[in-house]
Symmetry: C3
Subunit: 208 residues, 3 copies
């Protein structure tokens, strides 16, 4: 079980780092900049969560494996960017896996540190989306997560299921799996069908 969790966690880290590094390559950062964006995209959500609940130093700074996986993903994106551009579809699946695992792990950790159910669900969501937000802030663009297909809502749903299981005192493993599955399926379906949340003023208006 412990092994499975670690594997999933590192898969999520890898997926997020790869996505962040690709963005950095597209914006013509140098190799160091690409590695920084890869690390930030994969770890910042967890780091902010750990700062907010008082778990310092954050886990991402204590375990070297997260850094190693981020850097490996960053170097891959740097040297094989044209190859990875063609593999968009598997990268999206991996990203959804990362989101699913991070939202569940974030909610579990917030509950373990004694936060209330509402805030634990929100911190789970933040763990999933925080890295992407800071990645976009570093690249001086409005975070995609504030506009794209049900991204944050899928993370919130996954984290919410974990918290619901805790409230009902049911076995946490089951609800962790259910939460991760719900997040993953919701996100994949949203991508496939192009589901978007509404914007104010109706979907037909031109962007300002």
């Amino acid at each position: 079980m412990q092994m499975l969790v670690l594997t999933l966690d590192l898969c999520g880290t890898f997926a997020f780092a790869l996505g962040g590094a690709m963005e950095g390559v597209r914006r013509r950062l140098d190799v160091f900049g690409v590695l920084v964006v890869a690390f930030v995209a994969s770890s910042f959500g967890g780091i902010v969560r750990d700062l907010l609940i008082g778990a310092v130093p954050p886990a991402a700074l204590l375990d070297w494996r997260y850094l190693a996986v981020s850097l490996a993903a960053g170097l891959m994106a740097f040297f094989c960017s044209s190859l990875i551009e063609r593999l968009r579809s598997p990268a999206r699946v991996l990203d959804a896996v990362g989101l699913a695992f991070f939202c569940v792990a974030g909610a579990e950790k917030a509950l373990a540190f004694g936060l209330g159910p509402l805030m634990a669900a929100l911190l789970g969501m933040l763990t999933g989306i925080g890295g992407g937000i800071v990645r976009d802030v570093l690249l001086a663009q409005v975070p995609a997560v504030l506009r794209s297909e049900l991204y944050a809502l899928a993370a919130l749903a996954g984290a919410g299921i974990v918290v619901a299981g805790e409230l009902l005192r049911l076995p946490p493993v089951l609800f962790a799996i259910a939460g991760a599955l719900a997040c993953f399926c919701l996100r994949m379906t949203a991508i496939r069908r192009g589901w978007k949340l509404p914007t104010a003023g109706g979907p037909g208006d031109p962007p300002a």
Copy 2:
């Protein structure tokens, strides 16, 4: 008294969240993005202050009422944006009320955690302006607070009065009221008269 403080605090949160959400609507974020910006704009100043003084988890994550008020303001902005655009003037008054209360509350909390007078005044200011700064960073624009009419200076004045009262060992309630009033009046007068701080190179130069 406790009731009054809570009411003022929630008014400030509401005003800041409304302003943040309006910005999000203008930038065509989806409904979730608008809610995130509303929460960030209203709570980030206090969250950063709490992180800096070591008060974790931050108050804004422990008390659900702040979140509820932020989300209510965000939904209002999302569904009634055209109405609110017309109510600009009351929104500005509300925003100045929020600023006044936040700078006083921030300075009081920093003093209570043992920071020196200079830093307590600066943290009071940060509590007032931090949310607006992060709101603008998320929307990929230079924070308005770094350029607009005596915004941060009004917050600093209010926080400074609170700290001065503490240094002189005078009754804190009186100085809290005086600080809030000073901040509010300074900000409102600056808006009405168009007072601005100078920029380098003289006020007549074209912006770069």
Copy 3:
């Protein structure tokens, strides 16, 4: 020795604050905005490091001298910006001195708080480059440090030498000096020769 360290630290703070304030002046911020950017550029790297290792309140908020030096540099930049523009070359030397000292001091502090060697080196680097990153984020541009001449790599080299000395249990003062010198020389040589890290797709491609 203590005196030397403090002097160097304040020199670094001054150099970073001056650079940040010049950027603010160029972007037409008002005098308050310029001071905020000066303080952020000089102190944010250290503040983030202190948050991550749990040293709250951060040192930059406890010692008023850092703030005083930042504000002095900010005011100088505001009132004498045309003079300073002509002194570009000494400003760059001062900036490299600041980087050299900050990366060494950051690594030492992280080691003192019990972080592992890898993370101590990274936190040393972060202390050096963090202020510049946040300065650029506030000004809504992609951080220069992610693209410029061996900036972060020089900081990482300096911090790495400090950590290596600690691992080998050799006298820390010697390795602190060696680390600072290595960082300074690497950075100055990179500026003089225009050394840059590669970007993906070859150096000849046009930026996107």
